[in-house]
């Protein structure tokens, strides 16, 4: 069957034999967007986190049929090298990754959090960012999340001033 959706600003259609195929498999193996990672396949680690209509979703546990007509954003669509998303900017500044495998998932979860709350407390970070990092970069991650929040507030302020 054919399923159409928007991904990183582009309209795409994919053919799948099984409409319950995880969106993660389609994103990586059909659309060749390898930034979203397969960690556990059981909605446990968060490595596969992407956005569906602005909400963080664990794509290993999301049947592609549910993506029909939706707007998907993966780490590839979050920002560009010229105009990085505040989360990407903060991650670079704080040199967060170690092996890097879990990082796209964390960044997508953080971007979803900051889109709803641009001044999260440590408690709110703990409640919302529950992905797993085997290299234990949590300390740098927390700093980067606060820095990304700061950058997001600056961006929000500029767009209010310009409007």
């Amino acid at each position: 069957m054919e399923i159409s959706f928007q991904i990183n600003g582009e309209n795409r259609s994919v053919q799948v034999e099984d409409e319950n195929t995880p969106l993660l498999w389609v994103v990586r193996d059909v659309l060749d967007l390898k930034g979203t990672k397969f960690g556990c396949g059981k909605a446990a680690c968060g490595a596969c986190t992407l956005h569906v209509d602005g909400e963080a979703v664990r794509s290993c546990s999301y049947a592609v049929k549910f993506a029909k007509g939706k707007n998907i954003v993966t780490i590839e669509g979050l920002g560009t090298p010229e105009r990085p998303h505040p989360v990407q900017q903060a991650w670079v500044e704080e040199i967060v990754p170690q092996c890097g495998y879990c990082q796209p998932g964390f960044m997508m979860a953080t971007a979803a959090l900051l889109s709803k709350n641009d001044h999260p407390t440590d408690e709110e970070i703990d409640a919302n960012i529950i992905n797993v990092c085997r290299c234990a970069t949590y300390y740098r991650m927390r700093k980067a999340i606060h820095r990304a929040a700061e950058l997001t507030r600056e961006t929000n302020l500029q767009s209010t001033e310009n409007s």
Binding site: N20, A56, F66, T110
Partner: protein, 196 residues
């Protein structure tokens, strides 16, 4: 030799019995049950982990038949649906997912805190269920509708497979008999029998 054979067959029978006990055995369909039996069947379902795991009294959903706290510190959050960026729906979709073993059903969420049942007695649970100030203002008719038609309630009999590919256990009363029992109990005034 005969003795060893006997022991072996007893062990075999016992392990077979244990295995079959674990399997789901629906009760006989019985619409002539007494109101006390109806109440008892309703309570057997409500107190089963498939229902109880999402009716916590500590704001922490539970998982599995042994009712461990939901992994990764997941908690009630806002509107019983998790946190702003990590909602229940980040992992739980409209239906069970056989690839990940994550359960799913319509409007997946915790029951409201006022409907927390974990650790309560049958009588205390029944009182919370019937009391409009704790049950979300529901009348008896609305409770019957909720308990016999709501997709999330009925998920208990279609709980899918777990992360290891094993079918989840269903409640000890069949869906059909549960619905009969609910209607019977409410039809007869939803009397809470005194606890023995």
């Amino acid at each position: 030799m005969l003795f060893i054979g006997l022991i072996a067959s007893v062990i075999f029978m016992e392990s077979n019995e244990v295995a079959s006990m674990k399997k789901y055995k629906p009760l006989e369909r019985d619409s002539n049950i007494t109101t006390e039996k109806a109440y008892d069947q309703v309570m057997q379902v409500l107190m089963h982990p498939r229902c109880m795991n999402c009716h916590p009294t500590d704001n922490v959903p539970k998982q599995g038949d042994e009712r461990h706290p939901h992994y990764f510190d997941m908690a009630r959050g806002e509107n019983d649906k998790g946190f702003s960026a990590t909602k229940c729906a980040a992992c739980h979709q409209e239906e069970n997912n056989d690839y990940s073993g994550v359960p799913g059903a319509s409007h997946w969420a915790l029951a409201p805190a006022s409907m927390g049942w974990q650790g309560l007695s049958k009588t205390e649970i029944a009182k919370r269920l019937l009391n409009p100030s704790t049950n979300g203002g529901k009348s008896h008719e609305e409770l019957v509708e909720h308990m016999t038609e709501d997709e999330l309630v009925l998920w208990a009999w279609d709980p899918g497979i777990d992360a290891n590919g094993q079918p989840r256990e269903v409640p000890p009363v069949s869906e059909e008999n549960f619905k009969i029992a609910v209607k019977k109990w409410f039809d007869e005034g939803a009397i809470i029998p005194s606890e023995k």
